[in-house]
């Protein structure tokens, strides 16, 4: 058996799930359609046949379904709750933000809630204002949750495996834009730290802090940015934020660009920028940020053309901080609007 092979993001999530189901019968997956042959965008495909007791299709009752899973976690089980869109997870806001997140703290410890909330977020062609929100800020400010955003198939498997084993409520925000991306992923189970940023590329000229699908755009930007030594950081966790990693990087580069794939207001980038300000870094150039405009994401491609940061806008934001002129590059319709089949 190969030690690793190339699989995509959804296959990576499925593999982490299957390995957890096989090793621990207290693990179960609950959510609408998780029992379908291609359940949960393929992330539970075929698992109902293999683990019938541990794959539960449910009525569209997000509130009680999530609450029941939280209750099962409080009483010794390890549920994985799947919400296919963040908008539906909001029906269960009480259970995620107020019950699971606070339970251990408000009872003075030793009241663990080992639950995973898998929630799909973000951009997808044709889905419009009510199917493309990410709401990262909402999850970032809910204390008691751990919140990670896997940026690639390798990250997806390792973070989901760690989330399932963790004794805290962990929210895995899965940008569906990345679902077709591919990467070498180990066959064996492995876990990645839930609270540590990851240095994707070491550099000395500027720190680019990104996450999720914004990290992919930033990686692509490195291919066209020119002769600039960029340090690229995958934030990985937005709750808590790995401030040490940001400080170490900024102390070295003294330049900062943050990349968001959500609206500018109360974005993850805003939080990183605020923390950078408090670190009293002697910046060589004014820190800048890229994000989506403060309007909902519309449906028409004519209107979404300039909505998300791209490899070009990121490359030019990097170049601007170094005093370099912008590069001109046209991105094709497909590359702008269709999910990338990128090989990491």
């Amino acid at each position: 058996m190969p030690k690793s092979r190339i699989i995509n993001y959804t296959q990576a999530l499925r593999e982490a799930t299957e390995q957890a189901l096989a090793r621990d019968t207290s693990v179960f997956v609950i959510g609408l359609g998780v029992s379908y042959p291609n359940g949960a965008d393929g992330t539970t495909a075929g698992l109902k046949a293999l683990y019938p007791e541990q794959i539960l299709d449910v009525p569209i009752s997000e509130d009680a379904v999530t609450g029941m899973a939280v209750g099962a976690a409080i009483h010794g089980m390890r549920p994985i709750v799947h919400h296919g869109r963040v908008e539906f997870a909001l029906f269960a806001a009480d259970h995620i933000f107020t019950q699971a997140a606070k339970w251990n703290y408000m009872f003075g410890g030793e009241n663990h809630v080992p639950i995973v909330f898998r929630i799909n977020v973000g951009r997808q062609w044709g889905n419009g204002p009510q199917h493309t929100q990410a709401l990262y800020g909402l999850f970032g400010c809910a204390l008691g949750l751990k919140v990670v955003i896997p940026s690639s198939p390798f990250m997806a498997k390792g973070l989901l495996s760690a989330a399932i084993k963790d004794n805290n409520p962990v929210v895995v925000l899965e940008p569906r834009w990345l679902f077709q991306t591919k990467e070498h992923v180990p066959v064996e189970n492995y876990e990645l730290p839930l609270d540590r940023a990851r240095l994707v590329r070491k550099g000395y000229d500027i720190s680019v802090v990104a996450y999720g699908d914004g990290l992919l755009a930033a990686r692509m930007a490195l291919e066209i940015v020119g002769d600039i030594d960029v340090e690229l950081i995958d934030l990985v966790s937005i709750n808590p934020i790995d401030e040490d990693a940001i400080f170490t990087s900024l102390n070295k580069t003294r330049r900062l660009l943050t990349v968001d794939t959500t609206n500018a207001s109360f974005s993850v980038g805003s939080e990183v920028q605020a923390r950078a300000l408090r670190m009293q870094i002697d910046f060589k150039s004014r820190p800048t940020s890229l994000s989506c405009p403060d309007v909902p994401c519309p449906t028409s491609t004519a209107l979404t053309e300039n909505y998300y940061p791209t490899m070009v806008s990121i490359a030019n934001a990097i170049r601007a901080q170094l005093g370099l002129s912008p590069i001109q590059k046209i991105i094709s319709f497909d590359d702008l609007h269709l999910p990338p089949e990128y090989n990491f």
């Binding site: 009525p59 009752s61 379904v65 609450g67 976690a73 107020t98 408000m106 410890g109």
Partner: protein, 317 residues
């Protein structure tokens, strides 16, 4: 049928503990929201006495009684309300967060109907472990108007969960009357049975009736047939705070004379006397209980507060 004298003792503990807490609130500055259970004791004691020690219960913002009736420590309860380190939640929760896991009382939270689905999760775990144990969720009539309650009924019936939801109908959601919240045609029994969940009504001011109905329903619950027991009770005190609030003028049926005439503790006492127990021995129980409560409050008052650094502990497991 459990010993009625034991029920009287337990109900007396619930009543006297809260009466003394109310005095403490009026005398001292107690910085924890408190919702008093006075008047509803027959429900907690009647249901708990139908449970086995390994069965579980979860409660709400008004759960001192549910916690004590399940065997929770009075000392740790009072410490919690006073914000002391020895409190059942280390002072982090306060009155609305009672917990005594060793006794099967696995938590109370004040976000109302949401405790029903959390309790369903407990029942789900019990079913998964193939025990014969059950979970009880205590909610009020107000909480039973939240959507999560109805979603939970459907889930409980679908997954055949050993879940008993006890609805303590004290006529008010805060001070809002039933008829200001429901049409005159609202029929809880029809709705609940419509989900495939068993339903019974009990006189919540009557220990015997609660205990009998709970016992009957629990036989089915243990077989995976979830149930709702609606207990009609009188809340003697205000929604929140140690006050009798008759002057507010919202009460219609449950005015003072009615509350006293139907008082659950008085009912049990009258029956015991009919059965030949002497008035003196009952008074003796009351005196002993009051002394015990006084001792525990005294202890809690002088117990240490948590170290300020505890602010940061337990955010994560």
């Amino acid at each position: 049928m459990i010993n009625l004298l034991e029920a009287f003792k337990c109900m007396s503990l619930l009543r006297i503990a809260e009466e003394e807490l109310a005095k403490l609130f009026l005398r001292d500055k107690i910085m924890s929201f408190v919702h008093f259970y006075v008047g509803q004791e027959a429900v907690a004691v009647g249901v708990s006495n139908a449970l086995s020690p390994t069965d579980r219960a979860l409660g709400n913002h008004r759960s001192h009684g549910h916690y004590l009736a399940k065997g929770g420590s009075l000392r740790r309860m009072v410490c919690e309300i006073l914000g002391k380190a020895e409190g059942c939640a280390g002072g982090k929760g306060g009155s609305m967060h009672m917990i005594a896991r060793d006794n099967g009382f696995t938590g109370s939270t004040p976000i109302l109907g949401s405790i029903t689905s959390i309790a369903a999760g407990s029942a789900f775990a019990q079913k998964h472990a193939r025990t014969q144990e059950v979970t009880v969720a205590y909610i009020g009539d107000g909480a039973s108007e939240e959507g999560g309650f109805y979603e939970t009924l459907n889930l409980a019936a679908l997954f055949k969960l050993p879940l008993l939801i006890v609805v303590e109908n004290n006529l008010y959601a805060v001070n809002s009357k039933l008829l200001d919240r429901r049409s005159a045609n609202y029929n809880a029994g029809d709705i609940i049975r419509g989900f495939g969940v068993a339903y019974a009504k009990a006189d919540g001011n009557d220990f015997d009736d609660v205990n009998t109905k709970a016992t009957e329903l629990l036989a089915g619950v243990r077989q995976g047939k979830p149930a709702v027991l609606e207990c009609f009770v009188y809340r003697h005190m205000a929604h929140s705070a140690p006050l009798f609030d008759d002057a507010q003028g919202y009460r219609e049926e449950d005015v003072l004379e009615q509350r006293l005439a139907h008082d659950c503790l008085k009912k049990v006492k009258d029956r015991l006397i009919l059965e030949g127990v002497t008035e003196e021995s009952l008074s003796q129980i009351t005196v002993e209980t009051r002394a015990f409560v006084a001792t525990e409050i005294e202890y809690a008052l002088s117990a240490p507060f948590p170290n300020p650094q505890e602010l940061y502990s337990h955010l994560y497991a």
